[in-house]
Every structure is written in structure tokens, then in C-alpha cells.
């Protein structure tokens, strides 16, 4: 997903002279192509995120479309005020590409785990937050970034993630994609997920189906602006709504979906269960998959949580 995203920036730059790339201190391999083909429009500006975001704002004020790229924690936590004031208050078309959203950097520890990036980016007016599920979807998304008017935070996953998105389902920023739609039945559930959690969620849906539970999987690649209409629509007549995200339970997809249902469903709010990372810093290292398992975010665990939740409404 990462090389796909960066290569796509360079493709866009070939098509559109407004596109520039700014990295902080990333692998020279990443920018070699653009430096060679488009010298003067690819910059590696050093470990200075606060400055780099302001610089991008300045470039955007002059008509450019900067793609700023560094590790997700640094592009969100480190320069939050610059993102809020320079990008969001001015509503500038700057794209922030965050490497390693969620638990990707598991072996590197909590300084590098972007577990609250979606929450803090989502809290900013004018910000768009996108977390696609695989490299193919990244390509479809990136094609739409040129004409999006305001800032976008792009959460990258690890890379080489299984391809689960389907071209025929299309892609539109701000429009959730029903990746699987439940057939009839009493025990219907809605599973709402984002990023690579969607991959695990689709697998969990298969396990559920094998046990007679029909589920709709709504892939919310754009956490903000949330596709409220889709969330509310697919929540009708389901017994439970379960949200799944590789992110803290404070303020992420689960919070956004809950807010939408509280505001949009009146007294008919279904039972909601949110799966994600608890409100703690990680205490283990290992791999992304190991930490996902520790937090109950692998497919069998997701399926188990759905069964448990269904028991609550059946009791």
C-alpha cells in the first residue's frame, strides 16, 4: 500500500503540475523516481514535521497540491497545531500520508503506534480522514485526491495486505462500500469496519455465515466525512451493529458510527458493540498480527464477539 500510494503521487504529479511531494526523512528509494523525472517537485525536508506542515500550507496557498509523507504518529501528534491551524483553518488541499497507521510498527513500541490518529484528525473541522483496505483501493482513492477541496489525512497500512476490495463496487470519497450484504434471516448483523480491519471483518463474516449468522459488511474507507446515510440505512432491521477498527475505542470509527446512529435512528437504535484498541498504550511488541490478536481483532475473535453480542439481544 505504501509504495502504491507514493507511486500514485508521482503518477499524479506527471499529470498535474500542481502536485508536489514532501517527505521528512524517508528512504531515498521512495523519492528516487520523482527526483529523477520531476526535479524541483520532490522534497525531503528533514525531521521537522511542524515546519513541513506549515511549508505545505504555504505551497498550497500558492496553488500547489502538496502530499506530505512521514510516519503516522509524527504527522498527527507531533504537529497537531500546524495541521489544525495551517491546514484545516485555511482549508487547504494538503494531503497527509501517514505510514503505519494502527499497529503496523508493533516491534517499535508505543512511540510509533498510531492508535489515536483517526480520532484526533477527525476532531478537526474541514479534515477528511481516509483509511483504505488494500493497495487496489488506494489506487482508486488517489485518483480522486486531485480535486478534493480540503485537507486529507491518508492512513497507510503495512503493505502487501491481501486484496479484498473489488473494482466493480467503485470508490468515492465519503461513500461507504457494502462489501457484503446480508441475506434475510433473524440473526442479521451489521459489521462496520475501516482500513485493513475490513479484511479481518470479511473473514469473520464468512465464519459467522458458516454458523447461520448473516452479516452485512460496510467498509467505511472515509471515516470523515462519515457516510451517515449508509450507516443508518444498513442499520435498519439488524439485531446488532458491531464496529471493528485497528484504533483506540476513544473517538475513532466506533465513536463516529455510534454518534451517527444516536443522531440518526431516534428511538430505534440497535445494540452497538465497538471492537478496537482499549484506552491503553501497548505493553507488548512482536508483530501487527500479534497485537491485533491481543486486542481481539483477528477474524475468529471478531466472530466470537459478534456471537456474544447476539446472545445479549437474544437473552
Amino acid at each position: 500500500m505504501r509504495p502504491t500510494c507514493v507511486n500514485k503521487v508521482f503518477d499524479l504529479a506527471e499529470r498535474d503540475p500542481r502536485v508536489v511531494y514532501i517527505g521528512s526523512d524517508l528512504s531515498p528509494d521512495l523519492t528516487a523516481r520523482m527526483k529523477q523525472e520531476m526535479p524541483g517537485r520532490a522534497f525531503m525536508e528533514g525531521v521537522s514535521e511542524a515546519h513541513v506542515v506549515g511549508m505545505a500550507a504555504g505551497l498550497a496557498m500558492e496553488g500547489f497540491i502538496p502530499f506530505v509523507h512521514t510516519i503516522a504518529t509524527f504527522i498527527t501528534r507531533r504537529c497537531y497545531e500546524q495541521v489544525a491551524v495551517d491546514l484545516c483553518l485555511h482549508n487547504l488541499p494538503v494531503r497527509l500520508i501517514g505510514n503505519g497507521g494502527g499497529l503496523v510498527y508493533a516491534p517499535l513500541g508505543p512511540t510509533h503506534l498510531a492508535i489515536e490518529d483517526v480520532a484526533i484528525m477527525r476532531a478537526l473541522p474541514n479534515m477528511t480522514v481516509v483509511s483504505v483496505c488494500d493497495a487496489d483501493e488506494m489506487v482508486r482513492f488517489m485518483d480522486q485526491t486531485l480535486d478534493w477541496p480540503g485537507p486529507i489525512y491518508i492512513r497507510l497500512a503495512k503493505g502487501f495486505d491481501p486484496i479484498v476490495s473489488r473494482e466493480e463496487l467503485g470508490f468515492e470519497i465519503g461513500k461507504a462500500i457494502p462489501m457484503r450484504v446480508a441475506a434475510g434471516g433473524v440473526d442479521r448483523v451489521l459489521l462496520v469496519s475501516t482500513g485493513v480491519a475490513t479484511t479481518r471483518t470479511l473473514a469473520a463474516a464468512e465464519l459467522l455465515a458458516e454458523n447461520g449468522v448473516e452479516s452485512t459488511v460496510l467498509h467505511v474507507h472515509t471515516v470523515k466525512p462519515l457516510d451517515i446515510a449508509a450507516v443508518v440505512h444498513y442499520s435498519h432491521d439488524v439485531r446488532v451493529v458491531v464496529t471493528i477498527e485497528e484504533h483506540t475505542l476513544v473517538g475513532g470509527l466506533g465513536s463516529a458510527v455510534t454518534e451517527a446512529l444516536v443522531d440518526g435512528c431516534g428511538s430505534r437504535i440497535p445494540l452497538i458493540r465497538r471492537l478496537g484498541i482499549p484506552d491503553v498504550f501497548a505493553v507488548k511488541y512482536g508483530s501487527q498480527d500479534q497485537l491485533m490478536a491481543m486486542y481481539g481483532l483477528q477474524a475468529p475473535q471478531i466472530a466470537e464477539s459478534v456471537w456474544e453480542t447476539l446472545k445479549l439481544v437474544s437473552a
Binding site: G40, R41, E45, G46, S48, A50, H51, V52, V53, G54, M55, A56, A57, G58, L59, A60, M61, E62, G63, F64, P66, E81, Q82, V85, D86, L89, H90
Partner: protein
């Protein structure tokens, strides 16, 4: 405090304020009267810097604030906005009587300037340490577009405590942005007291020189000296310029000068406003 505050001040023979400088300060007081509050000391130290820039240096069109060839003037110390507001009003970006609404509910003029609201304001500032990174990006962009506009960034002294300023300084130098001019309003008093006590900036000129800037120092209230210097910018054709403007916080109203207490005031009463006007009588 005065001894500490003026420790790094070169000995300048500052001429008395002329009628225009007094008139502009009276406009500042007019806005303070309208809003009942404001960053007084921080604005009064800026008046001659902003005056010379807008009267004689900057290219702009008040009826076309987005004119592509304009020089970009970014007031990074947004709390000093009254000094910019009075110049923009004086130049016709908006009517002078708009100053009376300063900080009021429906006004375009807030306590910190917003680009989306105020014609002539290039960036929304107020959070400190943002102007130089933005200015750097704009200067780079202007050069990439092949334009000859210049970018002027005005910071405070307390403001440059912020690390983002020094990150941007490295980058300005790396890119040889000779179309960028940084002006530091060095009044040597920040909100909490003397800069020499809070977080000493000295040797300030050496710092900017070592960061790759062409540097100059000037009496920030000497209109003629500012004029002579600013006619020469950029000071180097391969480096950005940094000008240390030695100023006096609260300059022009004796009881506000060199006193951190007058950094900002709220609930300004009519008698205080009257005293300010009295201190700014012409002739």
C-alpha cells in the same frame, strides 16, 4: 526590568515620532477603544516596521488583495494585528471605521488576524511559530512559479522561542530563499517578562547568521533607517534575509513603554483610552 529588557539594545538615536507615526498609533487606540481590549505593547512596537513596509516597500493592490504579483506580508506574531489592521485600513483594504468593531461579535477584525476574513491578511496567525514555515513554503512556491514577488514574515521575539521557527530557518537556508525576508520585532519583552530572563535569545544576530541568513540590525522605530535598509532587500542574492528590528514595547505612549503589564489589556476603560489619546497628541 528596564536594564534587562534593553541589555541587547544597541545605542540608537531614535528620532521623535512624526505625525504619521502618531496618527497610526491613534488608529490603534481607536480600535482598542472599540474592542475594549487588545495587545497594546505588542502592536505599538510594530508600527514603524509596518508603516515603512506598506508605505514604501510592499507591492499590493488594495482593491485586488489576491493580485498574483503582490508581495506577501505575513504577520506571524498575530497578536500584533492592530499594527497591521491600521495599515490595511489606511491603505484602503477596508474602511477605517471597521477598526471600531475590533473583537466585536460581527467584526472581520478579531484579536488575531484571519486570512478568510480580512482583505490583505495572507495567513491566519496567532498561534506562534507558524509564519516562517508558511512563508518558506510560499517563497519556494513563488520561485517555482517563476514569479518575482517577495515574502515578508514578521515575528515577535518571544515567538521565536518556538522550535518550528528554527526548523523553518534551516529549510529557508537550504533552499536559498533570497525572496524571503524575516523581520523580528525585538522589543525584548514577552508576555511574562524580559526575554533575557524568560528564554534568552542572545546572541540573536549570530544565531540567524549561523542558520544561513544574511542579517542586519536596525532601529525599528527609525523610519529613515528602516527605509534605507528595506530598499536594499534582499540583502543577499543567494540567502534569505533576517532583520533584527530593535524596538520598544508599547512605543509612543510613555506609560506603556517597556512594561510587560501592557503586553495585553482587557476591560480598557474610557479614562485609560483618554490618557492614551492624550499621550499621542500631535505637535
Amino acid at each position: 526590568m528596564a536594564t534587562d529588557a534593553t541589555r541587547a539594545m544597541p545605542r540608537y538615536q531614535t528620532p521623535p515620532l512624526d505625525q504619521r507615526s502618531i496618527y497610526l498609533r491613534r488608529l490603534v487606540v481607536r480600535a482598542l477603544e472599540g474592542g475594549g481590549r487588545g495587545h497594546i505593547g505588542s502592536s505599538l512596537s510594530l508600527i514603524e516596521i509596518m508603516r515603512v513596509l506598506y508605505d514604501e516597500v510592499l507591492r499590493f493592490r488594495p482593491t485586488d488583495p489576491a493580485w498574483a504579483s503582490r508581495d506577501r506580508c505575513i504577520l506571524s506574531k498575530g497578536h500584533g494585528c492592530l499594527a497591521q489592521y491600521v495599515m490595511l485600513a489606511d491603505k484602503g483594504f477596508f474602511p477605517v471605521d471597521v477598526l471600531d468593531g475590533f473583537c466585536r461579535y460581527d467584526s472581520i477584525l478579531g484579536g488575531h488576524p484571519e486570512a478568510a476574513k480580512v482583505p490583505g491578511v495572507e495567513a491566519s496567525t496567532g498561534a506562534l511559530g507558524h509564519g516562517l514555515p508558511i512563508g518558506m513554503g510560499r517563497a519556494l512556491a513563488i520561485r517555482m512559479k517563476g514569479q518575482d514577488a517577495r515574502v515578508f514574515v514578521i515575528t515577535g521575539d518571544g515567538e521565536i522561542n518556538e522550535g518550528s521557527v528554527w526548523e523553518a530557518a534551516l529549510s529557508c537556508s537550504k533552499h536559498h530563499l533570497s525572496n524571503l525576508v524575516l523581520m523580528i520585532d525585538y522589543n525584548k519583552i514577552q508576555s511574562a517578562g524580559a526575554t533575557s530572563e524568560i528564554l534568552d535569545l542572545e546572541p540573536l544576530v549570530d544565531k540567524w547568521r549561523s542558520f544561513g541568513f544574511a542579517t542586519a540590525e536596525v532601529d525599528g522605530h527609525d523610519v529613515e533607517a528602516l527605509r534605507r535598509l528595506l530598499y536594499q532587500v534582499p540583502l543577499d542574492h543567494d540567502r534569505p534575509t533576517a532583520i533584527i528590528c530593535h524596538t520598544i514595547k508599547g512605543k509612543g505612549i510613555a506609560f506603556t513603554e517597556n512594561d510587560a503589564e501592557w503586553h495585553h489589556k482587557s476591560s480598557l476603560k474610557a479614562d485609560v483610552i483618554a490618557e492614551m489619546y492624550a499621550a499621542l497628541r500631535v505637535g
